[in-house]
């Protein structure tokens, strides 16, 4: 195994607030790592900095051997590090199909002029992209609602679509930001299946989630953040027994027997 992602000393300050304070994390290819912590612990900031939505104050992010610290989000995405957003951030006025197809563009390189003329090669690529879009929609269980507008979907489908859009970019590392928050049991089940299928394709996953059951059952390794600092890292069992974690976040172990 080799490290797909090496983060060292990653910090983000907003004025006097340390949203992220010197966080180190190494992720191996094919792993699925959970990131937990109480509200305001810096989980979302961590994803924002990783994906280029925000620039870090200091620290280094090395992804597949490339230093991507502070790069623009579209460049980071085209290298294969892709994130989803909390809630339902979608291209809401576009159809489900178009949502995914837009994101399919990353792997293809075309210049505007040949595209405007509509060369045969461009049309062939269009067809391939449509096929790939359908394949991803099937994977996410969305093939039956492909013509609906994203904003008209039920909540569970919207969340799956968010993941499908990210998948369309052909990520090597997928950062899922609270994928099951606000879902009912059935929807959670479907999302966990989807995550398992994504893993089956060899995609490494970073998972931020509040639902402990999901994190504990899906992740191999967990990092715990509190007030921007990493306070623990280890297997699920280790984390559940960690004094600092229990104190900061999980409460007394008896409460979390389930």
């Amino acid at each position: 195994m080799m490290a797909i992602l090496e983060i060292s000393g990653l910090s983000k300050r907003f004025g006097g607030l340390h949203a992220l304070d010197s966080v180190d994390l190494t992720v191996e290819a094919g792993e699925i790592v959970g990131i937990i912590g109480p509200n305001g612990a810096g989980k979302s900031t961590f994803f924002n900095v990783l994906s280029g939505v925000m620039k870090p104050t200091s620290g280094r992010v090395v992804f597949r051997g490339h230093d991507i610290t502070g790069h623009k989000p579209n460049r980071i995405a085209s290298k294969g590090l892709v994130r989803t957003f909390q809630g339902t951030v979608l291209f809401s006025d576009l159809s489900v199909f178009d949502n995914v197809r837009v994101a399919c563009h990353i792997p293809a390189h075309v210049n505007l002029l040949s595209d405007l003329v509509g060369l045969p090669s461009v049309r062939r690529r269009e067809r391939e992209m449509s096929e790939r879009t359908m394949e991803i929609l099937k994977l996410a269980g969305l093939q039956d609602v492909r013509d609906k507008l994203a904003k008209d979907l039920p909540h569970g489908h919207q969340r799956s679509l968010g993941v499908a859009v990210a998948l369309a970019t052909e990520p090597k590392l997928l950062c899922l930001d609270e994928p099951v928050t606000g879902m009912n049991a059935e929807e959670i089940e479907a999302m966990m299946e989807l995550i398992a299928r994504i893993r089956g394709r060899g995609i490494t996953i970073l998972l931020v989630e509040h639902a402990m059951k999901v994190v504990m059952s899906v992740c191999e390794r967990i990092m715990v953040l509190n007030f921007g600092e990493k306070i623990a890292e280890g297997t699920c069992a280790e984390i559940q027994d960690d004094e600092a974690v229990i104190e900061a976040y999980l409460g007394r172990p008896d409460d979390d027997a389930s």
């Binding site: 939505v53 989000p73 809401s92 576009l94 837009v102 013509d147 369309a168």
Partner: protein, 333 residues
């Protein structure tokens, strides 16, 4: 439904042919006055189509008419002061407008929403003053006489057909853009900028291209306007120009390309045929804008989509319709 399919297609064909015939007949039957109105309609269609690109990315500029002006002055001055051939003036007008637009949007795209609107509003004001007060170059209030004709002797009929060809080419280009990768990335940028970025779209580049293409076509249109009118002055390019473009866009609806076309054609025709001018035209536009915002916020195109979806029973509700005849027919409902 299936039975009606064939006659409907035939009907559209007949209507399209009739429309083409009417457009060709206008200068012969209507004379110079109607040819002039036709030219206005054509130029306005190009303006609104160019403006639509950036608006799809969620930025609304207030200075689109300024690029039309830059094109008109570039072409008019090159021609009248330096004697440059009209063809070259035409290309230079487009290039100059595109260049200025890039220089403007590179810093301006750092802000969004109403702030972008204000920055471009400021640019419109500055350029308005430049056109008016840099008298040694622009002739100030007195304007510029542009003697070179677009083609031949420059009769209204000749200009009408040249500009008709120009608008048809422009429509074709914008149609292809709509179906290109670049065109399909515009709405996502406007819809969810952050998601677009992490989906691999270069948001800034997309907006720069959208703005520059729109400005280039506005500049080209400005050149044709200058050589057709034979006289330009800063009075031609005030802020009402931009406001009208916004109204055409709102009336037509931005999502489909034929929406703004219908908006520009209908509004220009009504205003001209009722011989409204000055404050009356402004009043009329304001009233229409209010009505549209209240009754059909998605414009004519949005209304047509809603009607279509109601009849289609859920299938293909978001299919991309062809922009020409099909659109015009449905727009007239």
């Amino acid at each position: 439904m299936t039975k009606a399919k064939l006659p409907r297609r035939a009907l559209i064909g007949v209507l399209a042919a009739a429309l083409a015939a009417i457009i060709i007949m206008v200068p012969f039957v209507g004379g110079d006055y109607y040819a002039h109105i036709g030219i206005l309609v054509f130029l306005n269609v190009v303006l609104v189509l160019g403006y639509r690109l950036l608006s799809l990315t969620g930025l609304y500029s207030f200075c689109h008419i300024t690029f039309f002006a830059i094109g008109a002055y570039t072409s008019g001055l090159l021609s009248s002061k330096l004697g440059v051939p009209v063809g070259l003036c035409f290309l230079a007008a487009g290039a100059m407008a595109a260049l200025v637009s890039v220089l403007l949007i590179l810093p301006a795209a750092r802000v969004r929403g109403v702030y972008f609107f204000l920055v471009t509003f400021g640019f419109l004001g500055v350029m308005d003053s430049v056109f008016l007060h840099w008298s040694s170059l622009t002739g100030g209030d007195a304007g510029v006489l542009v003697e070179a004709t677009i083609i031949g002797t420059g009769t209204q009929t000749q200009d009408y057909f040249v500009i008709l060809a120009f608008v048809l080419i422009a429509i074709l280009v914008f149609y292809r853009i709509d179906r290109s990768r670049f065109g399909r990335e515009l709405a996502p940028v406007g819809n969810a900028e952050a998601l677009a970025a992490v989906s691999g779209i270069n948001v800034l580049k997309t907006r720069v291209f959208a703005f520059a293409i729109g400005a280039a076509f506005a500049g080209l249109a400005g050149s044709l306007f200058a050589h057709d009118a034979a006289y330009i002055s800063s009075n031609n390019f005030g802020m009402w120009g931009t406001i009208y473009i916004l109204v055409w866009l709102a009336v037509g609806g931005v999502r489909r390309m034929w929406g703004p076309i219908v908006g520009a054609v209908a509004m220009t025709l009504v205003a001209e045929l009722l011989r409204m001018s000055g404050i009356w035209q402004a009043l009329f536009y304001s009233a229409v804008l209010l009505l549209v915002m209240m009754a059909m916020p998605q414009g004519i195109a949005g209304l047509a989509d809603t009607i279509k979806a109601r009849f289609a029973k859920g299938s293909g509700a978001v299919a991309g319709g062809p922009p020409s005849a099909d659109g015009l027919v449905e727009g007239s409902e």
